[in-house]
Symmetry: C2
Amino acid sequence: MSTPPPRRAPRQAEAERNDRALLQAAREVLAIDGAHATVAAIAARAGVGIGSLYRRYRTKEELFQQLSTLSLRHSAEAAERGLAAEDPWEGLSRYVTACIEFGQGSLAPVAGTIEVTDDMRALARTANKRLMALVTRAHQAGVLRPEVTPVDISLLIEQLARSPVVDQLRQQGREGLMPAATEARKRIITIALNGLRAGNGDPLPGEPPTDQLFTERWR
Amino acid sequence: MSTPPPRRAPRQAEAERNDRALLQAAREVLAIDGAHATVAAIAARAGVGIGSLYRRYRTKEELFQQLSTLSLRHSAEAAERGLAAEDPWEGLSRYVTACIEFGQGSLAPVAGTIEVTDDMRALARTANKRLMALVTRAHQAGVLRPEVTPVDISLLIEQLARSPVVDQLRQQGREGLMPAATEARKRIITIALNGLRAGNGDPLPGEPPTDQLFTERWR
DNA sequence: CCAGTTGCGGAGCGATTTACTCCGGTATAA
DNA sequence: TTATACCGGAGTAAATCGCTCCGCAACTGG
């Protein structure tokens, strides 16, 4: 009848490692399989049993929500770091690079399939506000093509956030070629970033895109 | 006992229309669902019965092989047109644009899952030879960044050949936003092409990628 | 060493989805 | 009208899905 004394969980460290592995694995599997990503594939890639996944997240949707929240938080932080940089171009290009490397783009396929929480909405607003500041500052410094809008930047990030080469080599298990693929990917990103700089090449066609393109997909 | 006179097939025109619709639908579904694309989804998007699909192609693999062959043929032809252009930059950039618009990138997920025919190998060789010529000519004219290799170009095409925004809006059936998405996509492509031009921005990092990255994936 | 507790992996479950077959019906040329 | 070539999609066995459950291993306090 006595209250048992509080005890430190025996295997808590392993649990935390597993959680991180699950989140990273989920990003990778989502990048490869898109909307058809399965919990079995995620658990397998994390080197973790299915049971452990379902102890931490009650459903597949809950896992994806957590993934989205973390991604948005990371994006907001990256934008803050970008604004902290002295050089406007450095700030913007580091923001873009950070978003790409974190695997922001893996989340595209879950848009519309999960319920958007208030947390997610607030983080998205913050990140977007900071991105606008980054773009404005770069425009004023004259280092960014004047026609480029924040939505252009977001779409460019989304476009570069998945790497067909890297994803497919991962899927085929050809780990030996991965370093070369990662290097090649960095070159592609550099090319795209160079295309954003002021003074180079053809003007951008069409009207500036509205952010409806970006928000509407999450319903 | 007389030989029956040759007759024109009653519904042959419809059959041809269906074939074209199937191929286009396959490209779209592959772009959205990747390796998990199903025959049912392809037939439905084409507005055609499953039976009609299987009358034309004995298996799913046969359909994908035909798709790959057509895509390679298109790529070789686009490179030829590029070489025919007078301006070296115009020739290269039209080749890139043509490859992207044809949906070259939809095929990435089928790499390694289908048997490569001799036809496909020959077409790939031709296309690659012409791409090398395009790149060399652009280098000699001094309009292309000197570090850029043909493999860089191929990887850039692959990177741009799928559009996260467009694909997802299609999947969600939001046809109303598609024109805006298509315009926005063109801006992204222009940005990337501008990044290829000589004289702008940072140098490309790392070693030039080997074409092992590109060939190995088809086993 | 022994209990006691906590988290582990994965076999198994019912429901769904898969590639593909088969056949009754329909559009078209003669 | 009749013959023919092609159509759509219900149906089939097999595979796969998200998720539950439980026997077992790893760790802590005595």
